[in-house]
Each structure stands twice: as structure tokens, then as C-alpha cells.
Subunit: 386 residues, 2 copies
């Protein structure tokens, strides 16, 4: 059984990870971490009795620690970024599931790989921004990074250890705005974007799904995870989200992974790999499904997709910059401060401004963290002209 550090336990993936563990007993939870949702974290700690926990602020840590002591629970509570790194590298854990949201997860992934932990990776930003340092480190340390993202888990399952592939078909639901025109999307709101047809996810990733930035980030993640060239990854819009992705091998055989859209399945696989363990989650019902369709992605209506892919092709810290700018832009969109198409515009403007004044060389993790910081500053200060 795995000894698990679960980073980001109060988010969507974190909660579903605990459901999987409740269902299958496939891991012993040694660490739980959260940002500000202390109430939920406390109840998770009561159930799973981890050795350690971590929250964002020192004050919350002290508050939580006191409450736990009163209940006779011995869990030690860390805080802040250093607390997260400590949580990702503890002696008692062999596996780290990183379900942190956004660039905040990069340092933890790096630290876990550096400490030779198996990493179950739900934080795609780690590879988007820092794949160039994390992947070589994982190879050097003989550390396995098992994807949790449904598409990447699908590809990982399809490859089944055989990396002699010709092409990866990265499927995309198309998001809530599939089939719409640019004109129709000018004035959509965050509330419109948050109605995702197939997957229940956090707010940030749901907006990314609406702009297709999410697919762009996944494209970059797939390239790093599977050592694929950009022209070996084909994005396939598949609105039913039943095929989670596919791989075409050298002989023309295509292997696909399918199932009901349920994140618990890839989460479980990341924790039980290379075994598969029985669960009672709903199965795909092909007679009910009836019909699977495919379309080309609409790069015109969803410019973020090309922006992300181009950023990957430029390499260095450019993907980190694109990702940081996107995080800032999405936050602005969620607060109602900018419009839908301001998101790609802000990302592009940030990349251009960054490249003008900064080197894009990426040699060590600090290059990524610095680029991330600068990009956020640039993006925050942009004024949107109407």
C-alpha cells in the first residue's frame, strides 16, 4: 500500500482522491494539505488521521493545530510554501499526489521528484512551466511521474510501457462554448463558462476549458510526459468525453482508453499502478452512449489553444509566462474585470512584453519561478482598451 502525501486535499481532485481511498483502501494518507479551507481540512484530518497537514497561513496553522489537539489528534500542522515542500518530501511517504491548482504546485512537484517520491501528477502547470527541469530530474532519479489528468492517464494506459508510438490523439470535449462563433462569445460571462457539459471541476480549470487554454496546457504536458514532438500530438474534439485519449502505434493500431467521465478512475489508477483494483464506480454504458463523434478544434474561435502550443514551440520560460499570464487573466475574468477575448489578448501581450525585456533561457527551477513572477506582474498591470 502506498504511503501518500495528498497536496490540495480540499479541491476537486483532492476530495475525489479521498473518495477513492475510502472506496479501495489503496493508500495510507500520511499528509493532507489545503489553502484556506480549514473547516473541510479539519474534517478530512479527523477521518484519515494523517501524520502531517499543511495550510497557507501561520495563523490558520496555529488555529487548526489547537483544535486538533483538543480532539486528541496528533497531526502536526505546517504552513506556507516551505511547509508544502516539507509535505512533499517527508521520509514516511513514498508517493505524492499533487492536486494543487496552478503554478503554486510547481515547487512541490520538483521537491517530490528531487526527494525520489513517485509523483501522481494532477498539477499540469508543473510540466507546462517546468517540464524542462522536472523531466530530466525524474529520469536522473529514476522517479515515475504518473499522470492524473484524465487525458494523460488515458495516454499512459494506452502506451502501457510501449513508447513506440506514431501519434497521440489528445481528446477535448470542446468545452461549454463548442460550436459558438467568435461573435457570440464576445460578451459571455464567467457564469456562462462555468457550465461545463461533462466534467465537474474547479473554477479555474473550467474557464481554461471554455477558452481551450486547458487543452493547450495539456498539449504541453503530454509532450513532456511522453516525449512527443508537437506534430505527434493531434487534438481531437470529442464532445461526449467517453474516449479520454488515444495512441496510434507504428503499425497503425490505435489504442484508446474510454469510460464514464469520472476523475476517480484516473486518480485510482495513479495510486494503484501498475495494478488495477476493483471499485463500485459507475461503468460506461455503451448502449446508452450510442454515439461518439469527432471534430477538428476551432483555432479561430479559441485562440488560447494556438497561443499555448506556440509557447511550447518557443520553449524556455515562454510556457511558464503563458501559464502565469493565463492564471492572472482567468482570475480577472472570474472577478468580472475583463471579457472573454481579453484572456488570449492578455496572454499574448504578456508574452510579447516579457520576451522584449527578459531572457527566455530555462536552466534551473528558479528560472521558471522568476519568469512566473515577472509574467504575473506584467499581466496584472496591463490596461485593457475597449
Amino acid at each position: 500500500m502506498k504511503n501518500l502525501a495528498l497536496l490540495g486535499s480540499t479541491g476537486s481532485i483532492g476530495k475525489q482522491t479521498l473518495e477513492v481511498i475510502r472506496e479501495t483502501s489503496c493508500a495510507r494518507v500520511r499528509v493532507l494539505t489545503a489553502g484556506k479551507n480549514i473547516t473541510l481540512l479539519e474534517s478530512q484530518i479527523e477521518q484519515f488521521l494523517p501524520d502531517f497537514a499543511c495550510v497557507s497561513s501561520e495563523k490558520d496553522a496555529a488555529f487548526l493545530s489547537k483544535r486538533l489537539r483538543k480532539k486528541g489528534i496528533q497531526t502536526e500542522v505546517f504552513f506556507g510554501d516551505d511547509g508544502l515542500v516539507a509535505a512533499a518530501t517527508l521520509e514516511s511517504c513514498d508517493t505524492v499526489l499533487n492536486a494543487l491548482v496552478g503554478a503554486a504546485g510547481i515547487r512541490s512537484t520538483y521537491a517530490a521528484v528531487d526527494a525520489k517520491k513517485t509523483v501522481a501528477l494532477a498539477n499540469k502547470e508543473s510540466l507546462v512551466a517546468a517540464g524542462a527541469v522536472i523531466i530530466p530530474l525524474a529520469q536522473k532519479n529514476d522517479v515515475r511521474i504518473i499522470p492524473v489528468d484524465s487525458e494523460h492517464s488515458a495516454i499512459f494506459q494506452c502506451l502501457s510501457g510501449n513508447n513506440n508510438f506514431e501519434k497521440i490523439y489528445l481528446t477535448a470535449s470542446g468545452g461549454p462554448f463548442r460550436g459558438k462563433t467568435k461573435q457570440e462569445l464576445q460578451n459571455v460571462t464567467a457564469a456562462d463558462a462555468l457550465r461545463h457539459p461533462n466534467w465537474t471541476m474547479g473554477a479555474k480549470i473550467t474557464i481554461d476549458s471554455a477558452t481551450l487554454m486547458n487543452k493547450g496546457l495539456e498539449f504541453i504536458e503530454a509532450a513532456w510526459l511522453f516525449d512527443a514532438l508537437p506534430n505527434q500530438i493531434e487534438i481531437l474534439v470529442h464532445p461526449q468525453s467517453i474516449i479520454h485519449s488515444m495512441v496510434c502505434f507504428a503499425d497503425g493500431a490505435v489504442i484508446a482508453q474510454l469510460g464514464a467521465p469520472d476523475m476517480r478512475v484516473p486518480i485510482q489508477y495513479a495510486l494503484t499502478f501498475p495494478e488495477r483494483q476493483l471499485n463500485s464506480f459507475p461503468r460506461a454504458d455503451f448502449f446508452a452512449i450510442k454515439n461518439l463523434t469527432f471534430e477538428k478544434p476551432d483555432y479561430e474561435t479559441f485562440p488560447c489553444l494556438k497561443i499555448a502550443i506556440d509557447a511550447f514551440k518557443q520553449g524556455g520560460t515562454v510556457p511558464a509566462v503563458a501559464n502565469a499570464a493565463n492564471e492572472v487573466a482567468v482570475a480577472k475574468f472570474l472577478r468580472g474585470e475583463i471579457k472573454f477575448y481579453d484572456i488570449p489578448q492578455l496572454i499574448e501581450s504578456t508574452i510579447n512584453a516579457y520576451i522584449k525585456n527578459n531572457k527566455t533561457r530555462l536552466e534551473i527551477l528558479d528560472d521558471v519561478l522568476t519568469a512566473d513572477k515577472i509574467a504575473r506582474q506584467i499581466c496584472e498591470t496591463f490596461y485593457i482598451e475597449r
Copy 2:
């Protein structure tokens, strides 16, 4: 490189096997066998210069041998059933691809397994009729049987060595008569049935595909190959024949194998397993495909399907009897002697007559061969009342 005995080289699978070998050079052809198509066999021999060949009759063997000698070709020519068994067990071969049609292939598969050859199996009747003796022998001899049938190759690829499956989805195109009613099919002819929508195959298997007997035989083959219980195999009508079959694992993840309907891909995989080798065969184009659909099989309109599955459930020599009766009935249908629904009626009547007067115990290969012979006699003599 494999040293290959190709049994049935002038049939549809045989010819495509030689195409694969021409394309990929994945095997050295040591043996070619044919029935009566001496002209094609001779030209195949000239190209591949096997050590041995085999034909049905002694006369053809002598004729062919003489012609080859004149051309300075040293290939030795065997004949008859004993020649086939010799061809399947030669010292110089490590692999036997059995592409013989019908129950005529059973003895060769058994002999190859007995001689510890790897068997690439396109002759499904071997397992349908004699799975109960061939599978234990293969296990005892540590012999691998690699399926060539597209569905079974798909399942084999999906399992990828992990037999912890919950369910097999055996896909079926539904054949040329999918969607028709029993009424509409009363008077269809062999010519109607020979127009298969997706696959180019021999006449016998195309009729089996029209009656769905083929899917019934595949059901039995899958049960033997993958040690599946009848309730673990679900038949899924999928008219596009793009998904070649699927497997659902214990955790609910479904793995599917897909591709253009091209028998050369599973043939090649059987010859290169566990490797995959580059070829120039057309790839599946998902943007062109657009749409994959699923339906339940129509057991009412296609009674052969249930007859085959029930025969498997009865066990012993009953599947051998069902298969033999089907071969006789299909031959009669192809000759225009009986009508479409006489096929299932003949099979059922033969099974009933056989069970009434014979034991169904299956302990040794001879039990199968005897049952096959008796069933043919019974079926040949049935008079169809109108």
C-alpha cells in the same frame, strides 16, 4: 525474425499475410500450404521460396513439384491432412499462422501446439470446437496462441498481458443485414449476403457474418483465448468496424483497439508481437470517421448467435457439432440449395439429433474430430420441409 509456416496461403488471410511480410520483412516464409489453388500457390512459392509446400491432393502435389523442379525451385511438396500436420510441426519453423478455413484447421493447430510452435491463429474453429483440449495443451507446453481475428487481436492488445478484466466488449459490424427484419430476410440469396459493408473476406465467413454465426463463433473463441465466462463477454454492434473490440478492467477503465478495417494490422501484430513494426498501411482518420455508434445485437432476427452461445454453455462436443452443422448449412446456402433461415434450423436440428444419439464428452482431440464427422453426416441428410 520468425520462421513461419503459413497454412492456407491462397485464402484471404493467407494472401494478406504475404502482403504484410512483403511490406515489413517480419518473417521468413518456410512453409506455404493451399487446397486446390495450385496456380496462385506456385506464384507464391516463386516469390517466397519456402522449404516446403502442401496441397490437398497427391496428384496436385506431383504436378506442382514437377513444375517447380523445372524452374529450379527446390521446395518440397507434401499433400493431404498428414502433409498439413507435417507442415505445422517442422523443425525449421518456430511460428505457425493457421489461416485454414473451417474445421479443417483444427488438427493443424493441435499439432502445432503439441510441437511447441507459437500459433498465430486465424482459424477460429480450432478453439470453437477443440478449445477444451488445445488450451490446456498450450498451457502445459507454455505455447502462446496469438489471435489474428481482428476482434481477438484487439482484445489481446487491450489486455496487454493484464488478465484482470471485468468484461470483454466483442464488437460486431452487424453484417450486411443489420437492421432488417426476419420477414425481409426470408428470401435473401447468397449474393445478397456476400456484400459485406466493411470487411473483405472469404465466402464462408461472409455468410457467417450475415447470419451472425461468425460472432457466435468469435464469442466462443474469446471465451477460450481469454478464459472469460459467458457473462463476461458482451456483444456490441458497432457498424463502422473502427473499434475492433474493448476490455473493461476491474477499476472501470475501458481499453479499446481501433483502426481502419484492415486485416493486415492484426496479422502483422501476431507476427511481430510483442513488438510493433512500422508499415505504410492507411491510418484511421478520425476527422473523416466523424461518428461511432453502438447497438444491441438482434438475437431475434439472427438466431445463429444464440445457438452458438448456447452450444458453448452446453460444452463438450456441442460447439464442434454446431460449427460442423453450420459449415454444411452454409455450403448448401452458397449453392442455393437452402434458404437463409434454414441455416439456423439445420444447425439446431443437427445439435438435437446429435445429442439424442451421441455422448457430448470431450476428453481428447479425437472426440472433436468424431463429433465433427457425425454432425456433418447428420446435417447433410436433413430434409428441409417447406
